[in-house]
Subunit: 145 residues, 2 copies
Amino acid sequence: MEQTASPSPATPREAEKAFYQAFEQADAEAMLAVWDDGADVVCIHPMGQALGGREAVARGWREILASGHRMHFTLIPLQFTEDGDLAVSLVYEHIRVDGESRTRPPILATNVYRRTPGGWRIVAHHASPAVVDLEAARQAPRSLH
Amino acid sequence: MEQTASPSPATPREAEKAFYQAFEQADAEAMLAVWDDGADVVCIHPMGQALGGREAVARGWREILASGHRMHFTLIPLQFTEDGDLAVSLVYEHIRVDGESRTRPPILATNVYRRTPGGWRIVAHHASPAVVDLEAARQAPRSLH
């Protein structure tokens, strides 16, 4: 515990750093600390349904972070917008997993941050595979939307 | 053209209405009118890469809207957050396509709106299938993220 992210991120970028640091360290408590307490939080993991509300979001993270995978994130920023007490960050997540030689397809993530009395917190995380695989991409309603 | 959405949406919800109306009417000009002019716009269609910048976003929409499918959207709101000149809406899109009997898997969308001198505009659209199909879901790095 010698180096932890700030418990009260002063900016949305600090909150984003804390989010991915908790992810890399598979630290569920740190991950939940950076999430807003509000009932309206939403978390979408790749290919999953939307998890709504603090409890469902927490359950999702505990499950994922307990998988034992050690992940390392390289983020490629796509868009960052901030105004008032709200900020949105779109990034490509390139994930390297310890012990895996195969490169994983990148993940696209939209992260929404809100300023609270306790600092900036994440209120929404929407992640999806840029391309799962060619077969899935062929079957997806690509021409539709 | 007897009924068109406002060219200068006064609220993010009006902009969202204009977005989905243009989508349903397969009206590329109306769709592009509701997008921001900024160089930082980002559009992610399901299972696609991120399209960045006005030109790439426009090309993507012209291609999709030219497909000839007539789509009808039912939106289930998941989260709506607004502050200052920024707003974010997360929704489930249930899409019915004329002439199709098979139900399509729902789409999850995060839409980001920004206030401009010309009204509220969309600056980011991130859409992904909630579940493409069971096989794809099994192959996706679900335990990871």
